[in-house]
């Protein structure tokens, strides 16, 4: 396990900006065909096709029709397209726009649901992306989200404060909770050299059991119920809605937008962010240049944990309203894929979080309406990330031209 290499630069292949360097002789068509956005689009299409194949082969009706393909090929193809088409149209209706809805509100609600699902993914993803850029492989998003949610939720029902102040204080508590949890890994790495991958993985499990323990203590949950869940948070601590009900879009989304801008500023415009990136690119060179690697390690983990903790706070104060054992779902792990898809860039992570949020929101409708398990979404997501990480593979599948710069090299 090395962390010397920066996952932000996944391959020795030149980055997309270098591909379309001005001054190179390149026709407009070639530029479009070799552009990185086209590769991303094709990767998504390919992944959806693959998911379609999977949906088809696991469907009894399609298999039955395939058995009679010799006698009735038309039936096979119509079954195939209707099965896969229904699943994907449900996915789209659940994620973006529901054209079957009776009211306009209902029709555009899926889009806001995608934003709601995307909010914690963006926040936790930003934390992981920031660590990646600094050469730290933070797998601890899950634990940091749990701690953030735990502290924010507890403050949300244990304190009595005026609206607004209460919410901000609870969110701040979540931020600190996540920061402390990730900070443990940062301090151990800086002081003893303990590998951050191991420590963050272990801290994920410890956080899960810690929450499980707390939810059984009545002093913590403020309820006398035997169920392992807490009291509902006070109204004053709720993240206020941005749109009137039935929409659930809450203030957490604004936090996600602000956090994206903050991380961008941190990495691209601030001195400390420059130190982060320097350590990520080459810790030995950074040390020689007078940057304290241990200070950077601790600071990066604190900020990364704070972002993930905010994600947990948004989940409990905005979406769920109370603490349960499954409050974090798989946010912390999905966030790793989100950061990878976003190439560890703030804006990229933001859009990747939105895309995965859309998949999540749409996946539920797909599962309930067509019976296609939501797990297919995981397959599609992971294939997208795999393909986007290897642009030459996508290009060779579609026989697209290689960017001029690279052709000269080979």
């Amino acid at each position: 396990m090395t962390t010397d290499i920066s996952p932000a630069a996944p391959s020795p292949a030149p980055p997309p900006t270098a591909e379309a360097r001005p001054g190179q002789e390149q026709s407009t068509l070639q530029q479009i065909l070799s552009g990185s956005w086209l590769v991303s689009l094709l990767a998504i299409v390919l992944a959806l096709l693959l998911g379609g194949v999977l949906i088809a082969v696991s469907n009894a009706a399609v298999i039955a029709a395939a058995a009679n393909i010799g006698s009735a090929p038309g039936v096979f193809f119509s079954t195939l397209f209707s099965t896969v088409g229904e699943a994907y149209s449900a996915l789209f209706r659940g994620a973006v726009f529901d054209w079957n809805a009776r009211t306009t509100e209902r029709a555009i609600r899926p889009l806001t649901e995608s934003l709601v699902s995307g909010t914690p993914l963006i926040l936790a993803g930003l934390g992981i992306a920031l660590a990646f850029r600094s050469g730290l492989f933070n797998i601890g998003g899950q634990g940091q989200v749990i701690l953030g949610a735990t502290v924010a939720g507890f403050l949300g029902y244990a304190l009595e404060l005026p609206a607004g102040v209460h919410m901000l204080l609870a969110a701040l508590g979540g931020l600190i909770g996540g920061a402390i949890w990730a900070g443990i890994a940062g301090v151990l790495k800086a002081k003893t050299g303990a590998n951050e991958v191991i420590v963050t993985i272990m801290l994920n499990s410890i956080a899960g059991y810690l929450l499980g323990y707390l939810l059984k203590q009545n002093w913590f949950t403020h309820t006398s119920s035997a169920n392992p869940q807490s009291r509902v948070i006070d109204e004053s601590a709720e993240m206020f809605l941005l749109l009137p009900p039935p929409f659930r879009l809450h203030f957490g989304f604004i936090i996600a937008v602000l956090a994206t801008i903050f991380v961008w500023w941190l990495l691209e415009r601030s001195t400390i962010g420059f130190e982060f990136k320097a350590v990520g690119a080459n810790p030995h060179a950074a040390k020689t240049a007078g940057i304290s690697v241990s200070k950077v390690t601790i600071l990066v983990m604190l900020i990364a944990g704070a972002l993930a903790g905010l994600g947990g706070a948004a989940q409990v104060l905005g979406t769920e309203g109370k603490l349960t054992g499954g409050i974090s779902g798989s946010i912390g792990f999905d966030a790793i894929t989100v950061a990878l898809l976003g190439r560890s860039k703030p804006l990229g992570t933001f859009f990747a979080g939105l895309l995965f949020g859309a998949f999540k929101a749409g996946g539920y409708l797909m599962q309930s309406q067509t019976g296609t398990p939501i797990d297919i979404v995981l397959v599609v997501q992971s294939v997208i990330v795999l393909l986007i990480a290897a642009p030459p593979l996508v290009r060779s599948i579609f026989r697209l031209p290689t960017p001029v710069l690279k052709r000269k090299e080979s």
């Binding site: 396990m1 090395t2 290499i5 996952p7 630069a9 996944p10 391959s11 020795p12 292949a13 999977l54 696991s58 469907n59 009894a60 492989f137 797998i139 151990l188 003893t192 050299g193 303990a194 590998n195 991958v197 191991i198 420590v199 993985i201 272990m202 801290l203 994920n204 499990s205 410890i206 059991y209 810690l210 499980g212 323990y213 059984k216 792990f333 790793i336 894929t337 990878l340 398990p373 797990d375 297919i376 979404v377 995981l378 397959v379 599609v380 997501q381 992971s382 294939v383 990330v385 795999l386 990480a389 290897a390 030459p392 593979l393």
Partner: protein
């Protein structure tokens, strides 16, 4: 290899100048004091029974019954003496042999058990405790061996989790369809190797960051197996996901030895295979042409290439073979334990295997011990849960993870991975 010259700095060289290492004596002293105060001085009344024999043993050994406080006190005093010895040795800059921490750990655990068993009049079933430890370690050991071969060859394999899960899945399905658990055992390595094929395809051909591929492959395998489980496997569980169990094959004589014989030699073939893999790797990695080439490719691929070793071919071959090992480990979850396949049943064990590999400093022996340490702490938590202790269940379940963090931070510290692990080789 440099990794080993670092571990064993030639005696005499800069020894006089070496600073006194206080880390270990401090840890020993704290643990000894904890034991003395909590398990000895303010221990709990009552007696603790250590049950050693099981039904039908060749040698009948009576249960060992000790008064909890006295046992805690005696054991704690030995620990205090050992801690004092470690300070004495540290002052003289003598580094301690590896049996010292092991003995210390065993005594500390016994002291803790004596305390935990007292009060409730609990019986500590030693055989169950150790058998549980081994069973919980088996997939971890297979996984750690897989990661070790990959990284020694220069390919970081985060996808162990996925390989375990894929192995568990295919083993269950094939065993169920053929109605023979051994068929599952043959199928599991194929699943693990297939995951490794995808890993190496992207890592070697397209130079994609290996950590990224590993993480994504884990998600992909979870998605694929969960999807197929929810659709195909649950539709006709009789055909696709019926329980099959590898039978236990006790080795004559050896399995009659009390405690350890029971635990080690009354197992199914998968566990015996695990012993073979660990022993074979320990010898092959450091004593064979294959191992030398593997380490050369993982440490300095350019030098290896210069002397005519095909770097990428070696990496691909070794990583795929290692994937087969991990797949075999996955079979333990299903046919090895007689369970049907369940969604995400590997439950993060692959990541813990990765931790065991790092904790063991990329040595088969070290990784084995690290995996056993984890398995033991987990089994300890389970046992304590069943005999009933004042400590809450969740806190007991945290135990293995806390132990691992302490081990990584306290005893291992800075480790050095193979130099070229994760760096694609481009001529």
């Amino acid at each position: 290899m440099t990794a080993h010259t670092l571990d064993a700095t030639p005696a005499g060289q800069s020894k006089a100048l070496a600073p006194i290492i206080w880390k270990f004596p401090v840890v020993y002293s704290i643990l000894a004091l904890v034991s003395l105060v909590f398990f000895g001085l303010i221990g709990r009344d009552g007696q603790t029974t250590f049950r050693i024999a099981t039904e039908g043993d060749f040698f009948a050994i009576p249960d060992i019954v000790v008064p909890a406080t006295a046992a805690g006190l005696v054991l704690s005093l030995i620990l205090v003496v050992m801690a004092a010895a470690s300070i004495w040795f540290a002052l003289r800059r003598v580094s301690l042999a590896s049996w010292f921490p092991m003995l210390f750990g065993v005594l500390f655990v016994l002291s803790f058990l004596a305390w935990a068993g007292g009060g409730s009049g609990g019986v500590i079933p030693m055989t169950t405790l150790l058998a549980g430890a081994l069973a919980l370690s088996v997939p971890l050991i297979f996984g750690a061996m897989c990661g070790l071969v990959g990284e020694r060859s220069g390919i970081i394999n985060i996808a162990i989790e996925g390989q375990l899960l894929a192995g568990a899945f295919l083993a269950a399905v094939v065993a169920s369809v053929v109605q023979n658990p051994y068929a599952g055992l043959l199928a599991a390595p194929i699943a693990g190797a297939l995951v490794a094929v995808v890993l190496t395809f992207f890592a070697v051909k397209y130079w994609v960051n290996q950590i990224i591929i590993g993480v994504v492959l884990n998600v992909l395998v979870v998605g694929l197996t969960s999807f197929l489980y929810s659709t195909v496997l649950t539709e006709n569980a009789e055909l696709w996901n019926a329980r099959q169990r590898l039978p236990n094959l006790p080795i004559p004589l050896l399995s009659d030895i009390p405690i350890l014989g029971r635990v080690l030699f009354d197992q199914n073939i998968l566990v015996y295979l695990m012993y073979l893999v660990v022993i074979a790797l320990q010898i092959l990695v450091f004593r064979s042409k294959w191992g030398l080439r593997m380490r050369a490719v993982g440490e300095h691929p350019k030098a290896a290439d210069t002397v005519g070793i095909r770097v990428n071919a070696t990496r691909v071959r070794n990583t795929i073979m290692a994937g087969a090992i991990a797949g075999l480990g996955g079979a333990f979850f299903t046919v090895g334990s007689g369970l049907a396949f369940g969604k995400e049943m590997s439950a993060g064990q692959g990541y813990i295997a990765l931790a065991a590999m790092i904790l063991g400093k990329w040595n088969p022996k070290g990784a084995l011990l690290a995996a056993l340490l984890f398995g033991f702490s987990k089994s300890l938590g389970n046992t304590l849960q069943s005999i009933g202790t004042p400590v809450a269940n969740e806190l007991l379940l945290m135990l293995p993870y806390i132990v691992t963090v302490l081990a990584v931070a306290g005893f291992v510290g800075r480790v050095r991975p193979p130099a070229a692990a994760g760096v694609p080789y481009v001529k």
